[in-house]
């Protein structure tokens, strides 16, 4: 069987997946932004793993699906998690607490935001994790080139969690605010309300969401649990629970593909 992996890099988790699948006897090709051309040449593989959510990998995923080549996870699911506007309104619809969002130009923010509402978190509309994310404490820190539209969220003051899930296994870690996935984090027992949020999130996708992660903050003032970011395919670099992420994820993907055939 020939498997393609759509990934921004060939190393790290992608490299481990490739090794695992090759050891099982499969032929695996990794497509990065250096060698990915989206046309009929892609149709030579039996199925694809969508590791990265860069727009071009999503395009490739949609193209493959339209040509009846399975893509795991599904591109539309990954897109919803990559696009912060989509994920925000989805979380609201399914009843999760999530910080209010604001979009506008620098001038609009300066003229219409209330000083009492600071700080905010500035984030890219398309993205996940901490890339391009920064805290905004004053009007002067709101800047953009060409008065482009900015996306900001209300900052939630509280305990920050990085919560991984692989099938029914949940691994909860306390992390420093606004940090990326790779900083050292402290594992804790998963509280019931975090388990419930994961369950609600996965239920929306009707069993299609095999793994992923949510960033959450427990607000000091209210004790409410806010989901502040979602990710469809993290590196699992801080996974500190039982099972091996690489082995289990590859097994889940292969099982999914078998069910789709």
């Amino acid at each position: 069987m020939k498997i393609g992996i759509l990934s921004k890099r060939k190393t790290m988790f992608t490299g481990k997946i490739k090794n695992f699948l090759e050891n099982k006897g499969f032929t695996v090709t990794v497509y990065t932004l250096e060698n990915l051309a989206i046309n009929e040449n892609l149709l030579n593989n039996d199925f694809y793993i969508l590791k990265s959510k860069n727009l071009f990998f999503l395009y490739a995923g949609y193209y493959l699906e339209a040509n009846n080549i399975p893509v795991i996870p599904k591109p539309q699911m990954s897109f919803i998690q990559k696009n912060r506007i989509h994920s925000h309104f989805l979380m609201k619809r399914i009843g999760l607490f999530t910080p209010e969002i604001y979009l506008g130009t620098v001038d609009t923010f300066k003229n219409q935001l209330n000083l009492d509402d600071f700080p905010f978190i500035l984030k890219p509309i398309m993205g996940s994790g901490s890339k391009g994310v920064r805290i905004i404490r004053t009007y002067d820190e709101i800047k953009s080139e060409n008065n482009t539209i900015l996306y900001m969220e209300r900052y939630i003051n509280g305990i920050h969690y990085n919560v991984y899930f692989i099938d029914n296994e949940i691994c909860t870690l306390i992390k420093p605010p606004l940090s990326h996935e790779h900083v050292d984090m402290k594992k804790i027992e998963t509280p019931d309300d975090i388990r419930n949020v994961i369950q609600k999130w996965r239920n929306y996708f009707n069993g299609e969401l095999l793994f992923g992660h949510l960033d959450m903050v427990r607000e000091d003032a209210s004790n409410n649990l806010f989901t502040v970011d979602v990710g469809s395919f993290p590196e699992f670099s801080q996974w500190k629970c039982r099972i091996s992420p690489v082995d289990r994820i590859c097994e889940l993907i292969l099982k999914k593909y078998e069910n789709l055939k």
Binding site: L36, Y59, A66, K92, Y102, I149
Partner: protein, 271 residues
């Protein structure tokens, strides 16, 4: 009186809708939300409009459509899906071809990687800005290579960061067919292709209903969830090819277009 919200950017407000607004204001309560001055606050979802009409495709406009669709029952024309697909050229090519509408062959390649066809036109991948098509024509060994200046400017930018080009197989055609869809009504025009005569209006003329184009137009509107659109077709060897689809058509090019669109919106707005 019905209440209509207009979600628009400054460019369209200044140059494209003056007659339309004058007419609509005489028929409805109109409130204008301008992308460059409106603060979208996701906690504020109390709107009393009977319908929102979108004239623009910027990030705030897309977010506003999503908010209205997800958190209220107010209809929006065009929808989030229609607008998003229309601005993502590669995605709409995939979807339209999947629906059986003839699309010229296309490929998305890293810069420097040759597309799998010889005569081609390079187009912008994300058609979100209000810039006009500026063709750069290059002939090499009898082969035609056309690039849209916007596409070349798009490449290598920092944000969004990518180095891809969208290639569409070049279709040689005597005429370019411009089709407008306003709800169930289709309007047919043709003009000399812009590469031959950049003044597209000079040669534009109304033509009779063309059943094949009409069928493609209805199908494209259905699969992309567009209620208002314009489409460009080229014709080669008796075969039409859909080359462009637009979610913010300039309806001023149709006779009484502003009235047709306003009346259509008023019909869609339910009290």
């Amino acid at each position: 009186m019905k209440k209509i919200g207009i979600i628009i950017d400054k460019y369209h407000l200044k140059y494209k809708v003056s007659e339309f607004l004058k007419y609509l204001n005489s028929k409805a309560d109109v409130k204008i939300y301008t992308e460059e001055t409106f603060l979208l606050d996701s906690s504020k979802i109390e709107f009393d409009e009977n319908l929102f009409f979108v004239k623009g495709k910027g990030d705030l406009i897309l977010a506003f459509i999503k908010l209205i669709e997800d958190l209220t029952n107010i209809p929006v024309i065009n929808s989030y899906r229609g607008t998003w697909l229309a601005i993502n050229r590669f995605l709409n090519s995939v979807i339209l071809r999947g629906a059986g509408i003839p699309i010229p062959d296309f490929s998305l390649n890293p810069k420097g990687s040759i597309p799998p066809f010889e005569d081609y036109i390079i187009k912008n991948i994300i058609d979100q800005k209000n810039w006009k098509f500026k063709p750069i024509v290059h002939k090499e060994n009898g082969r035609l290579k056309v690039a849209d200046e916007r596409a070349l400017n798009e490449v290598d930018k920092v944000d969004p960061k990518y180095n891809y080009l969208y290639y569409q197989k070049f279709i040689k055609s005597k005429w370019e067919f411009k089709i407008y869809g306003i709800g169930d009504e289709i309007y047919f025009y043709k003009q000399i292709p812009i590469l031959i005569n950049p003044n597209k209006i000079e040669s534009r003329r109304k033509i009779d209903r063309e059943p094949e184009l009409e069928e493609y137009c209805y199908k494209a509107m259905e699969v992309m969830d567009l209620k208002l659109t314009s489409m460009d077709f080229l014709k080669s060897k008796e075969q039409f090819f859909l080359t462009d689809i637009n979610c913010t058509p300039n309806f001023n090019y149709i006779k009484d277009g502003h009235k047709l669109v306003a009346d259509f919106l008023l019909k869609q707005a339910k009290i």
